[in-house]
Subunit: 201 residues, 2 copies
């Protein structure tokens, strides 16, 4: 307990951030209070705007600032003609793939992976929506660009089973993504190779 209730509350609230424990939270609070009040208020505004206004694109679930509107990638007619959906775990995986120029179809963002222990099932990662898109857009191939982790494997198996029932080809990106690593830790060439060597699952 410090001399200020508001300070105690700030130190507690800062710890919602992963990687920020009590000691870092105190350090951050003192730094902002003594040196960077304006920037602290700027952070508060950025947080409020982001939490209130960022939604998911209704088609691919990537982040968007315009609620209800399709994102730029989804509204590209050329990408739709590919009839291929690349499924990723995180929005920044899309940035990594776009930078590697490996893929010209459309995307789908899970925002995580199936994890029964955390109560994250197929619906929480949007698989109902993905199923609907595969049907409606007459998708011919689903490319799974998931991390090479246990959770990635479980999620890949689940989506593969779902797509096979719909007689749609499912592939998973190969070589290059290191075991236990995530997509944005590899370079564009490695990522491009992993698209070339994708294999049936």
């Amino acid at each position: 307990m410090s001399s200020s209730t508001l300070l105690d509350e700030l130190i507690r609230a800062l710890q919602v951030q992963p990687g920020v424990g009590p000691a870092s939270a105190s350090r951050i609070a003192y730094y902002l209070l003594d040196r960077k009040r304006k920037e602290g208020l700027g952070l508060a505004k950025a947080l409020t705007d982001a939490m209130d206004k960022i939604s998911y694109c209704p088609k691919c679930r990537n982040y968007t600032d315009n609620e209800g509107e399709e994102c730029k990638l989804c509204s590209s007619a050329q990408r739709a003609t590919q009839r291929t959906i690349c499924v990723v775990e995180h929005p920044n995986d899309i940035e990594a793939i776009e930078n590697s120029s490996s893929f010209k179809g459309s995307y789908f963002v899970l925002h995580g992976h199936i994890s029964p222990l955390d109560g994250i099932g197929p619906e929480a990662i949007g698989l109902d929506l993905l199923k609907g898109r595969i049907e409606k857009e007459h998708i011919q191939e689903v490319i799974l660009a998931l991390g090479q982790t246990v959770e990635g494997d479980v999620t890949a198996s689940y989506i593969a089973a779902m797509a096979k029932k719909m007689s749609v080809k499912v592939t998973r990106i190969a070589t290059g993504v290191p075991l236990g690593g995530s997509l944005n830790t590899v370079d564009g060439n490695t990522l491009a190779m992993s698209f070339n060597y994708r294999h049936d699952v």
Copy 2:
């Protein structure tokens, strides 16, 4: 550049926090957006309240939520009779000293130390106010409870010189605070010893 300008702004704003670089900032932003929007808004509110409302006690410069009012420690008549001021670098040093029951006088918080390279001079750490208190409250001893660092030494020398001109005894807490360490990394007994073995400077 992500698909959301607000997300890019949030990731940038999060990096005002010491210890939070681009990778941690992204991780924090995705976590809050996907899992903890309510808590993210709570953090924004705690930041706004703290930045807007926390001020310094006009007497000791400790944090207070009631602008212009003396803090609880400063308004204690018993502490005033001691005619001793303990000077600390950070507000949490006061908590550490209070928990060790080493000291019953009044406090003064510098919120840092003299650091010419960072443009932090005597006025930035409130030494004008400290000088005024020494005179007005007929202080008999100034105890310097500063960290054992180069900056702590420079600051101690400066305050010692100032107090000696005013013919006031100046001591510095001794043994126990490890070299290079800060006050809140030692236990209460060690801190109590360092008060017993304070020496003239």
